[in-house]
Symmetry: C2
Subunit: 192 residues, 2 copies
DNA sequence: TAAGCAACCTAACGTTCGTTAGCAAATTTA
DNA sequence: TAAATTTGCTAACGAACGTTAGGTTGCTTA
């Protein structure tokens, strides 16, 4: 791992716990055991770190769900796979995920807008699955966008409590989450 | 409304959109149309504002769910009521809620610890309902804490997209959310 | 062995930060 | 109408901020 990557990693950890704005370059330098000015041998600016973390994670999330596109699968199956893929990325790097989810608003333009556009595209991926499930009769849901936001909020909360050394493994989390969310989506005529 | 409350309100709006650390007293003063130093005729420090917002909202959330305690109601009913109460508080003041949910980590000690203790107590209220629902056979859930976190994450995401002038009214949101979450919790033998 | 480069240093820059001191005007209260 | 309170001002403080300039050291490569 290059020195630049090491710096990014330490910065990510600090950004997660204290936030981007509340983390100074001197804090970061201190965590690395060097002087603040030395960091600038490796990066251009503080925000560059944030940009790299945010867009790298965006790439990872997109890569994960685009790898499993399957037109023939049912909406239920597709949603389950998407949830599993999302949880896998999230749990593999909790710190970067937290920064990706919480600190993107400190991006300056045009990165801020670029990021939001990517986020929209990602949400649309889930929205399409929901729409498909409604059309096929698999899902019954009061509002399409509402359903997507509720699902993603459930997924994106994980980083606040997940610990790799905890008892719940990523696969388990994905399973439980799928179960909780899907049974809330599935048409179920036996319930009034 | 006192000048102090006006200041708090404007600060809350800024804290929500830019975050506590990225909002300077000069930003706040500018939004109020006065000088930064003038603010200190009304408040003791920048953090005092954050403290007041966080703990006032905590009071509101507790007040809302404690008002509807009913030992005789079913767990399903209790959860529905708790969700409705929670959503009502959240939507009545989106900005303060956002600060309450996102900026509390910038509280200094001992307020930080105090806040976390309150948050735990609030989560436990929901946890008790879930536990009761499991005992009565109303709910079937893989993990108790997991269920609470997923529910609350769904609720606490609302502030990011809810607009009072939008088409969805608080009662509708609460209903839809209850429906999505409860049907995911309810024992349902007809599903495999 | 010389050149190049990666990694880090000290010193300092201009700026912004939260906050205080001291004072003036306006408004409210007695 | 006098006193007290509220609300704001200007000027300034010391500290912390992101960042740059210029230099040294030691390892790697030709």
């Amino acid at each position: 791992m290059s020195r630049k990557e090491q710096i990014e990693q330490k910065a990510t950890a600090l950004f997660k716990t204290r936030g981007f704005s509340a983390t100074s370059m001197r804090d970061l330098a201190n965590a690395l055991g060097i002087e603040a000015a030395s960091i600038y041998s490796h990066i251009r600016s503080k925000e560059e770190i944030l940009q790299r973390v945010c867009f790298r994670m965006a790439d990872e999330f997109f890569g994960a769900i685009e790898a499993l596109k399957d037109e023939n699968a049912s909406a239920t199956e597709q949603l389950q796979r998407a949830i599993t893929a999302h949880v896998r990325v999230l749990t593999r790097n909790t710190e970067a995920s937290a920064v990706f989810l919480q600190e993107w608003r400190h991006l300056s333009e045009p990165h801020h807008s670029d990021f939001l556009a990517l986020r929209d595209r990602y949400e649309n991926y889930f929205r399409d699955i929901i729409r498909q499930g409604i059309a096929s009769g698999e899902f019954q849901v009061p509002d399409e966008k509402f359903a997507v936001l509720t699902i993603l909020s459930g997924l994106n909360w994980i980083h606040t409590w997940y610990k790799p050394e905890g008892k719940m493994k990523p696969e388990e989390i994905a399973e439980n989450l799928s179960a909780m969310l899907l049974n809330g989506l599935k048409t179920n005529l036996s319930l009034n």
